[in-house]
């Protein structure tokens, strides 16, 4: 501490770092985004507690739903898990997407955001960087749920290829869906309000779907909602991949929904980002 506290700026040493050497050319869009992804990794290194929501939370969800509903809905937990595991994976990962908005909001509050915005680089890079870091978190959560599932007796007929394809589709969709939260992160005033809005959107979206039960048992008006809910289609697509009965119609639906998310919410995010 003594050396840093008794620091006296010396004209020669500070002057030396100010020499106007030629500035390097600006980084490519991809390189800038990757650098922000690296920042997300560093934050995980320094604040490992933030991985709770991609480890402990998914384990809890899997155990809770398998044993809570298993006996009643499918005769036994081990039978139910064949049906419910892809759904739990989808709902857990989609829930976790809301932390993107919280992170964006925190950076704005702490002022580090202004620094990034004043740099001459590809404008969406910080946003893409957040989402690259988040894609890592989504993959981790999916893996944790898969491992817990396997231990509990989940035996996917789709095999390794089907499971990996299912997780890839899920992570890809979540990446696109997260632009909703980057928008709210920029739009709303505090971390708490971002959390509040996220819950309001995510709870109905994940529960009013085919994650836990077959929609044919629901009243007609509810079925109407469940059938247009993108989460339903995502669950069907992931289930089909892991179940070895690839449903290309559902997969196409999910990919189109993802593209629409990026087109709408990506555009809105960048508008807000530039005007903030």
């Amino acid at each position: 501490m003594t050396t840093t506290e008794t620091y006296t700026p010396v004209a020669e040493t500070v002057g030396a770092v100010l020499s106007r050497q030629s500035r390097p050319p600006r980084p490519s869009a991809w390189s800038a985004s990757l650098t922000f992804g690296w920042r997300a990794m560093l934050k995980i290194k320094h604040v490992p507690e933030q991985l709770f929501d991609v480890t402990a939370f998914p384990i809890m969800m899997t155990l809770m739903f398998t044993y809570l509903f298993g006996g009643a809905l499918a005769g036994s937990p081990s039978q139910y898990i064949q049906f419910v595991l892809p759904g739990i994976m989808v709902s857990s990962v989609v829930m976790i997407t809301m932390y993107t908005g919280v992170e964006v909001n925190k950076d704005i509050e702490r002022g580090v955001f202004d620094r990034f915005r004043s740099l001459p680089m590809w404008r969406p890079a910080p946003m893409v960087g957040y989402l690259l870091g988040d894609a890592f978190r989504y993959t981790m959560a999916s893996t944790v749920i898969l491992v817990v599932g396997l231990i509990l007796g989940f035996r996917p007929p789709g095999g390794v290829v089907g499971v990996v394809a299912g997780i890839a589709l899920l992570v890809g969709f979540s990446f696109a869906f997260s632009w909703v939260w980057t928008m709210f992160g920029l739009l709303l005033r505090s971390e708490k309000s971002v959390m509040g809005v996220s819950m309001l959107v995510l709870f109905p979206l994940t529960f009013l779907s085919n994650v836990y039960v077959d929609p044919s048992t629901m009243p007609g008006w509810l079925q109407a909602f469940v059938n247009v809910n993108p989460i339903t289609h995502l669950v069907s697509a992931v289930r089909s991949l892991m179940g070895g009965t690839t449903d290309s119609g559902e997969i196409a639906w999910v990919l189109i929904a993802a593209a629409v998310c990026i087109a709408i919410f990506g555009t809105l995010t960048m508008r807000l980002y530039n005007r903030k």
């Binding site: 500070v14 002057g15 800038a32 650098t35 604040v47 950076d107 702490r110 002022g111 005007r275």
Partner: protein, 320 residues
């Protein structure tokens, strides 16, 4: 193109009912420190954020090195750098990681970014703290890492938004020294501050702003002579004699006298009376008048003109 670093005309920014910046006209010459002096809420930060392309103006024009801040924002970003009121580096990361991150974002390759980061940490006396998270830095260290981050690619124009607010005197002096070195190497600095002393010590020109407008502009010398040399603060023994003391001081100094909330206290401005007389000399003559009238003075002090007095002089109301 012009040799002005910053040129604004009629710049406006409105937040709801609040006209934060309300027709700001600035002409900042390149190569020196330009001070923007004003109280909290005067619109200093809003103005800086517009000039640094972070906020879109609602009216008027602003050019930085001849580039329009809205239409040519990218060209402006390539030449300026900003150090905000709050250290804008990532608190969760270490000092080293922060500088490498910025180096990479500015286009340095991995090895070059690390070299550059080490050089900067060394120059700013932060080598020992390189691997500590910034949230564990002291206030002075944070400000230094923030300035280091701002000069990673030496900018042509550096915005320092209240760089010493909340710092202890030693850290404040360190920041002042750094600013002087940076300017000596050819970077123009726009410094916003609430402290007249800071603007006086660093800036070659000062704009005083209030309610989003420039209310006075000039060299520190011009400003000070327009507002007077300082003030004398007097505490009397007997509160009943204050009206008399007020009259005597006003006569002796030829300037307005202000009644303090404290019933025995008075503050009088000392303005240049054209006779080239030192402030201390004028003050002592005024105090002599009090003692001649038999008014006992318990305590007195002679003050440099404060921001408050700048505002009293320019707007005839205290700084908000």
């Amino acid at each position: 193109m012009s040799d002005l670093a910053i040129e604004t005309s009629g710049l406006v920014k409105v937040f709801g009912d609040n006209r934060a910046v309300d027709g700001l006209d600035l002409a900042v010459p390149a190569g020196a420190v330009y001070g923007v002096l004003g109280p909290n809420g005067a619109g200093k930060t809003t103005a800086v954020r517009m000039l640094a392309t972070l906020l879109r103006p609602d009216g008027g024009q602003a050019r930085v090195f001849g580039h329009d801040v809205v239409r040519e924002a990218d060209a402006v970003r390539g030449r300026v750098s900003l150090t905000g009121q709050y250290a804008s580096v990532d608190e969760d990361l270490t000092g080293m990681e922060n500088l490498v991150l910025l180096g990479r974002l500015l286009g340095h390759r991995k090895a070059a970014a690390a070299d550059r980061a080490r050089e900067l940490l060394e120059a700013f006396g932060l080598t020992d703290a390189a691997d500590r998270q910034v949230k564990n830095y002291s206030g002075g260290m944070r400000r230094r890492i923030d300035i280091a981050a701002s000069i990673l690619n030496t900018p042509d124009l550096l915005f320092l938004d209240e760089p010493t607010t909340g710092l202890d005197p030693r850290s404040r002096n360190q920041v002042w020294d750094i600013v002087r070195i940076v300017v000596a190497h050819g970077t123009t600095v726009l410094l916003t501050t609430q402290y007249l002393e800071e603007a006086d010590r660093l800036a070659s020109r000062i704009a005083v702003i209030d309610h989003g407008k420039v209310i006075a502009e000039g060299t520190p010398g011009q400003l000070k002579s327009s507002i007077g040399a300082g003030s004398v603060h007097v505490r009397l023994r007997d509160p009943h004699r204050r009206p008399e003391a007020e009259r005597l001081l006003a006569e002796a100094l030829g300037a307005p006298v202000y009644i303090d909330a404290d019933p025995v206290a008075l503050t009088a401005r000392i303005i240049g009376n054209g006779r080239d007389e030192a402030a201390a000399e004028q003050a002592s003559r005024a105090l002599m008048e009090l003692s001649r009238a038999g008014i006992v003075v318990d305590d007195f002090s002679l003050g440099q003109p404060s921001l408050d007095e700048v505002f009293l002089a320019l707007t005839d109301k205290p700084a908000a």
